[in-house]
Symmetry: C2
Subunit: 637 residues, 2 copies
């Protein structure tokens, strides 16, 4: 129907007027309605944008050159709106073109007639250098011009594509090691407003052009958590499939509470949780679970469910219906267990911290002693948390030993595998979680070790029905029993949330795309990289390991000792000085933007670096880079 190889308008002295274009270029399509309405005079090198309404086709052309006595236009890009982003060959290219060199007078007049009938169609022209930005002038467009605005479709798609351009460039650069990890600014600097980037909100709308600038600047002043040299958090990396999954999730913009409005996502969640329970080792994958907004909330669920299991009357009557309940977790465990104790009304002093060995693993005998002690005080031990992969050391508590004690004293056993749960996917490393199948509940965050975008955290419970029993309130407006489908699929009443974000899709899609073996490879690789780091620095001058022996997880904890401290005898002065080394190096790293790694004190140990690897983009060269960078920045401290 349309020939995209080029077409001509009569040669004349510039500037060409609208009518030149209208009379010759515009009515290309004989079918009905190809129209050009230039609002500027076209000239060589200028980009014209044609909208072929009836064909749902967009063709972009450049006024190219003079050929004979005509001005030749060159199409640059074409796109079928209905299905394709770019032009598709059959609808627009199969038929022989016309007006390719010079049109006959008959053809011309016919086409002009066709044009005049279709005044609603348009052509814009623009001489911006950058095609996509030139294509639509966003400086005069506003949010109100986008869908559902009348005729807002074209602007909407163009705006979204422009955003996608920003995002794909960001993605590309994130994996490019010549890009900085961050461009650090202090809060007051950003608050005062960077050039062209002002965080303040106002009464009046801003143009879409400004909105695009804001998008660029938001990314510019942020931190590239997917960069191969970002080691700062347990969650890192930018998985492309996961990213696509999140884009789809936000486009679907729905809520997990009912099958009615999230049929596919609800089923995906159900199937994925079952698969995870199978991997944990619960018979037939039976049990229950939910994706929750993060590991802290997942851990909170475990305490709630344990309380409901042993003291269901607390739901109705409150904590006064129960005796003084105590919870146990290691001094190395995540603070969310203590937080759950405070939130749920146990009180944080009733969260008893267990001693660990030098590697950060719970000492089971200490658990048993503290259970006995609590009982002697008349308190009621309720719940034990075993951590599979502690936050700082990456330690795995001995689950089987702890499970023995829980069975002996009839306590709820929860495994916080927020960080280490991913190792269940690895045949090589899953033995570190041996005994997890004996747990009553498990927290497992695919957004950490499995590289799923934030947020994606699962709470898994062995006993079916108990989440529902614990949390249901039977709201009539959401969970009507008289729906036309099996309402057992309405899962919202199991949650402490009402609306619940769709966290499953990206994870499900990644699992599809990588397979179980893909996750296994990812995990094995990250552990190999941390082994590489450990072997590299364990005997290197200027390094001290925080704990002896090869780490269980990817956590490698170490002090860098600057030359000035190397000869210094141990004692308070050295401790104080060493305590300041990691923060100083970290601050310089951030100012330089070259890499990021975490540090913290732990117990009586002064600030040390905690290196972790969960990003699939990391290679040995990045580990080398980190060490070089620490030495470069720390040498003169």
């Amino acid at each position: 129907m349309i020939d995209p190889t080029g077409f001509l308008i009569p040669k004349k002295k510039k500037p060409y007027t609208s009518s030149d274009v209208m009379a010759t270029v515009a009515p290309l399509n004989l079918n009905q309605s190809i129209i050009a309405l230039p609002h500027k005079t076209p000239a060589t090198g200028i980009t014209l944008r044609y909208k072929y309404q009836s064909a749902n086709l967009l063709l972009v052309a450049s006024v190219k050159q003079l050929v004979g006595d005509s001005l030749q236009l060159s199409p640059l890009a074409s796109r079928i709106k209905a299905e394709d982003m770019f032009c598709n060959s059959p609808p627009c290219c199969n038929d022989a073109g016309f007006l390719q060199k010079n049109n006959s007078l008959d053809e011309k007049s016919r086409m002009v007639g066709s044009f005049k009938e279709s005044a609603k169609n348009q052509l814009t022209c623009d001489n911006s250098e950058r095609f996509t930005r030139a294509e639509t002038d966003f400086s005069n467009l506003f949010a109100r011009d986008l869908l559902p605005a009348k005729n807002g479709e074209e602007q909407t798609i163009q705006f979204l594509l422009e955003v996608v351009e920003i995002l794909t460039n960001y993605v590309r650069k994130t994996f490019d090691r010549s890009t900085k990890v961050l461009d650090f600014h202090h809060p007051h600097q950003l608050l005062e407003g960077m050039e062209g980037f002002n965080l303040e909100l106002s009464d009046q709308p801003e143009s879409l052009e400004q909105i695009l600038v804001d998008c660029r600047d938001t990314l510019k002043y942020g931190v590239r958590t997917g960069h191969p040299r970002f080691f700062n958090q347990l969650s890192s990396g930018l998985d492309i499939i996961g990213l696509a999954g999140e884009w789809l999730t936000s486009t679907a913009n729905t809520n997990m509470f009912t099958y009615e409005i999230a049929p596919v996502f609800v089923l995906m969640e159900q199937l994925t949780l079952k698969k995870m329970r199978e991997i944990i080792g619960w018979p037939n994958g039976d049990g229950d679970g939910l994706f929750s907004p993060g590991g802290a909330i997942s851990n909170m669920y475990s305490v709630m469910v344990a309380r409901y299991k042993y003291f269901p009357e607390v739901k109705t009557k409150g904590m006064s219906a129960a005796p003084r309940l105590v919870l146990f977790t290691s001094e190395h465990s995540h603070y969310s267990i203590k937080k759950a104790g405070a939130v749920l009304g146990f009180g944080k002093e009733n969260v008893i911290l267990l001693k660990t060995d030098e590697r950060g693993r719970v000492i089971p005998a200490d658990l048993e002693a503290k259970i006995i002690d609590a009982k002697q005080k008349g308190h009621v031990p309720l719940f034990v948390n075993a951590t599979a992969g502690t936050t700082v050391y990456g330690a795995f508590d001995p689950i089987n030993d702890i499970a023995d004690i829980c069975e002996k004293y009839n306590l709820w056993l929860h495994v916080d595998g927020a960080w280490g749960g991913g190792l269940l996917m690895s045949r090589k490393h899953r033995h570190k979680l041996n005994g997890i199948e004996r747990a009553n509940s498990v927290t497992w965050n695919p957004h950490k070790m499995m590289g799923v975008p934030l947020q994606c955290s699962a709470i898994l419970v062995r006993e079916k029905g108990i989440l529902q029993g614990c949390n249901s309130m039977c709201a009539g407006y959401l969970f009507q029993p008289d729906k036309q489908y099996d309402v057992n699929y309405d899962t919202g009443d199991k949650a402490i949330q009402c609306g619940r974000h769709v966290d499953i899709f990206k994870f499900w899609l990644m699992w599809k795309a990588k397979g179980t073996i893909g996750f296994e490879q990812h995990i094995d690789r990250c552990l190999e990289l941390s082994e590489y780091l450990y072997n590299k620095i364990k005997n290197r001058e200027g390094y001290e390991m925080v704990f002896e022996g090869q780490p269980q997880h990817t956590n490698v904890c170490f002090w860098y000792i600057p030359p000035s401290l190397r000869g210094m005898p141990s004692g308070d002065e050295r401790r104080e000085k060493l305590h300041r080394v990691a923060p100083k190096i970290k601050a310089m790293m951030m100012e330089c933007g070259t890499t990021m790694v975490g540090y913290q004190p732990q117990g009586d140990k002064v600030n040390f670096f905690r290196m972790v690897v969960s990003n699939h983009a990391v290679t040995k060269s990045d580990i080398d880079f980190l060490i070089d960078e620490i030495e470069r920045l720390g040498n003169d401290l």
Copy 2:
């Protein structure tokens, strides 16, 4: 450098072989390295994909037609990878083309030489009907071929663009009234697997082609919550700016706990919350707040903070350190208040339900009577929730009257404005929340009435510092005091979560794009539409309103009475029959996929429809459509 108007290869009997193309088409660019490596034989109508590596340019062409004794190729789309999604005129189109008709022998041989030097470059050809799918053959690509894979950039961008094509088509169709709202399937149907769409996860990876199919099918079998005829939930609509914001948020893939890794988002949250507090009317916008994962959690925060204010020792010692505390909320309020009572250890029987008038508004005298009653029983009244916009009736409790009572008895006043908070943005409607400035805390969900994509819920607290006091656990590994920036910006310890999803950006971006006045217009419009509905049906045959008078919010609650019930005397039989009408109509709506609207019973009232409008795409014609559809489906019941 490259001429996109078309180029020719010698005419010969089909099929053309690789060497035909290699010898003539491929080495188009004299500069260095235009290369064609067809893996299939090109034929008319076939799409070829050229990769001009040195120029970072992709040009796609179709083998078009025979011209003279040559086969003409037509370029369909071109793209500069470095910066632009489509081709840009200056780099690829300014120079005069060559090889445009027939190349001289010299030119040919020179180009072939150039080609042979660049074996890494490639051309693929494909006879798929859809251009973008042809452009990259995803059937042989896997997740492992995407970034960070070596040379994975092109595939990554192509894959993401393919996903974006799926998403933009979805967006476009969502606003098209000829599209169904949903394509309903029962759980067992989806679980058994639709054609080509299987939810099961497996050990082995699937191709990117299958992943794209999965994306399409996930959307296909989902529900279009942005469709102008989706009225089922308080959250509806698909805001394009908000959507762009979510895409960016997932690409940034970071976490709100520290300024360190979310500098821009942390500041945006701070500024936006301050703006919201100013709108509430707290002096200077002072106070505190957080975006939380939904209104239920925001309400839970309010109860936690109230408890901490009056009984801070509960954080440490648990609920046993406090007397028996009671909370008050209306029988029409959201179930999350009761849920918070259960979760936090108050017990749901200590959540006292207040009577409402016939419009669903709390009767203040009942509150006072119940406070006195509780005190007489020795219980301690702690907290009152006033709802601004109830879930079903859209009622606004009289905040000032309730605030008077709270002041008199020294109780915490929370306003649950999850649904109605948006009306604060409207000069016309904000009087419905008069007195909100007297509240100690407010829940306000921009993801409901303000059209922000899910999830976006704020808990706002008048007293500064109390969120921190209530929830802080001072985890050393995250909240190091010795950072190089002002650590007051690390907000994570105020939350009950550890990692916290970035919910602010889309909202901030929408505010920038619409301005405060844009939100006001949106809200006023939605309320006008519900007024239109109310006026349309209040006296219409076959309708009964659930409560008298014009609704306060966009909630319009009504029974549709099928002709068969219209003459029937009131009584149990009619009630039972009427109770079944709304579910039946709803089920048919869903089977037809034409529209969706919620229904529920309330107190002693049998199932009725609750119509709500929060979607900016809705027009009067959609309201008319809903009524027509109810009558069409319900007429014969």
